[in-house]
Subunit: 124 residues, 2 copies
Amino acid sequence: MTKLNISNSELEIMKALWRQQPLTVGQVIERVKMSNDWHDNTIKTLLNRLLKKELAARFREGGRFFYQPLVTEEDYLTQESEGLLTKFFEGKMAPLVAHFANHKKLTAKDVAEIQAILEQMKHD
Amino acid sequence: MTKLNISNSELEIMKALWRQQPLTVGQVIERVKMSNDWHDNTIKTLLNRLLKKELAARFREGGRFFYQPLVTEEDYLTQESEGLLTKFFEGKMAPLVAHFANHKKLTAKDVAEIQAILEQMKHD
DNA sequence: TTTTATAAACTACATTTGTAGTCGTTATTC
DNA sequence: GAATAACGACTACAAATGTAGTTTATAAAA
């Protein structure tokens, strides 16, 4: 899979589409505006850029277009997470955890949760 | 701390400065070129942009400038890591670990290392 | 069916980023 | 000290990004 280049603003649109799809322009605008103070046209522009980049597609139905994402959130997540690890942590998760540990960003509950996940991993 | 906006290319320069500092232009170029196929002037431009953004500074000595970073790698790491978590994992480390676990990106050794880190955390 | 609200298409423009080029000025080396 | 190499300042320019505006077509409401 080639690198998914999604800008920060565009990401807000993708998030709306990931939560629910397909959506009309109006629905996208409505949803995106809940967390971003943007002009309607800004959102339309971003949607069109996503089409051009083939990160989203649309189909016509009843004289209206419906938009949907062409990449999954999972795929994007995976790319970004690995990107961070590659850039800074030699691609390993452990140093990242250590970083968070050192910066006291992990509560006891966090630790317990992570341990549970790892424990469960061993049994499948 | 306000958001540190370092572009991908600029980051390569910062990495050189984080590894060793202060460095002259020539030294920066020499180091950056080891992993990037860029023209000398490209590197100089990036250095200047970092100065303008006050992400790096320089002082004169013997008719030459010496460059040094104004932000630590730690700070930048922290920002980027938290950025990723905030954007996708509700700010929690656990879901990220789960994501990696689900995608088989964790080897047994990785798991052991992370567990060791977490265990050790409890004892301080 | 005329108005009104949406949608769609197209255009705009400043800023940031990637990636150099040019030219005058100091060091460095013969 | 003259030639060469490295430095420093300044300029260039296309693509990507953030953030709209304008114009035209279409659907919904009155």
